[in-house]
Symmetry: C2
Subunit: 331 residues, 2 copies
């Protein structure tokens, strides 16, 4: 009896690697026309149906969830995604699901990794991070009707899929409201260059807080994330006439740079100037930096809940926008 | 034809959960005598051979490596194991291996998780962290001839298995030698209570450095890891007559506490007193704290190399003790 065709049997028949077969299916433009034709011929001859094969996995249920992580941990802010990883592993396990890790150089490689993980390990579902406008990964997964959830909003009208996110604008709004209540009127925002959806969202919360307080000025600096970026942004803002007395920052890294610059200028934190970061990293805790905390354990639990709804084939899971909270410390 | 007995078929035959079967095999004392008898009867009747089943996996080759992580990320120092996780995932992937995560409350639960991961997912091999004296996990794996490698030494003569570790004593020795060359003579050690193998190793390097420099005094304080611990240790040492002018610390968390206490006493870091931490965390980098850096990417690469040697059935892989390096900053 003929066996069901698999990625492996197609690869063998066409004398190419499994990756090449996957490329022909998902990114034909990267394969030479000659090889492509040979692989397509083998796919047709063996009756391989990649999308159906993927769909059938849902009845097999490996209970394995795939998650892409960065090849190297990245500094102060990367810790949030590592916390998410820990929480996701623990919550998934309560329901007998396991987390399998992989890395990818970019979104397109990530979709190739999906195909490979489905074919080789039988991964059931995926959790995605770093969503952005026009995200080809979510399109790829939806076209194949594969279960997935994103930690991060779709950030685009056309992308309708389950997601969990933290309301960043609400976080910076909490920070701004707190500073206004403390009596600050010159409250600057230190964020990232425009076009980063997460960054724009955090800026919006600060701007709305100032509007509510009847403050017209919008003092801000946009820099790449990092302590040095925060330091140079603060230096620029402090050199202006009527310098800001408070800073709402899009990340703890930026906030730590601001704190460093204030210290170097002899300004007393919490007295002469106030700083609030974002992400409540261990570094912020150690330094007594106030920060907006994302409810990471809740995000992980909600991701697992939504995946389970999908894997059981129940009606479309609702998306969830979770509120952050403000952690006040010395700064 | 009779199918090969599995953990699942035994569980079904005995009308118990898969976990209970696993418990009867690995931790019979936690199962009631009555249930135990029923399960043992099913094992015998179906001819289930757990150890053989595990061994057979090596010919199947799932290419999956299991790794236990803590349920929640833990502060400043936990970042090192997260860095290891990132590097391990990237390196394993180069050789088509994947990392699967799991959590466990203690070492005994970890061995039960091994059994479950082998039975349910077909995990090929394990990477262990947090090795310690008389480690029941490594004994469990060796008895079953399962491939594994530890990030951490066996810390006991009887435990002969492949491992990769970083020479902690060499790290604190580098730190101590540097401080001696700077002219310090009163160099204290801030570490953990005796009996932590890693901590004792780091203390030994400091002590050897002082011996080499002909310094007889051994000023030290042992506290539980954390910024507050470091702070109180420094306070105690600084209140003694002829207070130390330099501190070698077993972790960055401890070092950050020492730095805080020095600042509060108006002592200028790098001038009046010097502090060197351990692990070169992002927090240390941000604060300008000198620290001993573990070569985490190399540890991960060596772990993967050793596992590959084992999975190919080649002669016993050598163990590796890798040298750390000293990263000098302001403190």
């Amino acid at each position: 009896m003929a066996q069901r065709a698999t990625l492996n049997s197609v690869a063998e028949a066409a004398a190419v690697s499994r990756q090449t077969v996957s490329n022909v299916i998902n990114s034909p433009e990267v394969v030479s026309p000659e090889t492509r034709e040979r692989v397509l011929e083998a796919i047709e001859r063996l009756g391989y149906r990649p999308h159906t094969a993927a769909r059938q996995l849902r009845t097999t249920r490996s209970q394995i969830i795939g998650l892409r992580i960065a090849p190297v941990g990245n500094g102060v802010s990367g810790v949030v995604l590592d916390q998410f990883l820990h929480s996701l592993t623990a919550t998934a396990e309560e329901y007998d699901h396991r987390i399998m890790l992989f890395t990818a150089a970019d979104d397109e490689s990530e979709t190739r990794a999906y195909a490979d993980l489905i074919a080789s390990v039988g991964v059931d579902a995926f959790v995605l991070t770093h969503t952005h406008h026009d995200d080809l990964r979510t399109r790829w997964l939806r076209e194949r009707e594969l279960p997935f959830v994103t930690f991060g909003r779709p950030w685009g009208a056309e992308q309708d899929h389950p997601w969990v996110d933290v309301d960043g604008a609400r976080g910076t709004r909490l920070a701004t409201d707190h500073l206004v209540r403390q009596g600050h009127r010159r409250i600057a925002f230190v964020g990232w260059p425009e076009g980063s959806e997460t960054g724009d969202d955090r800026r919006a919360g600060w701007s709305a807080g100032l509007a509510e307080a009847g403050i017209p000025e919008r003092r801000e600096a946009a820099v790449f994330d990092g302590v040095e970026g925060g330091r140079s942004a603060a230096a620029r803002l402090l050199d202006e006439p009527l310098a800001p007395t408070a800073f709402v920052c899009a990340s703890d890294s930026l906030a730590l740079g601001v704190v460093g610059e204030l210290r170097d200028r002899g300004l007393r934190l919490g007295a002469d100037a106030s700083v609030i970061g974002f992400d409540d990293t261990p570094t912020a805790a150690v330094l007594g930096l106030s920060s907006v905390a994302q409810p990471i354990a809740e995000v992980a639990a909600e991701c697992v809940r939504q995946l389970r709804v999908m894997l059981r084939g129940e009606p479309g899971p609702a998306s969830a926008l979770l509120p952050p909270r403000l952690v006040l410390r010395r700064t």
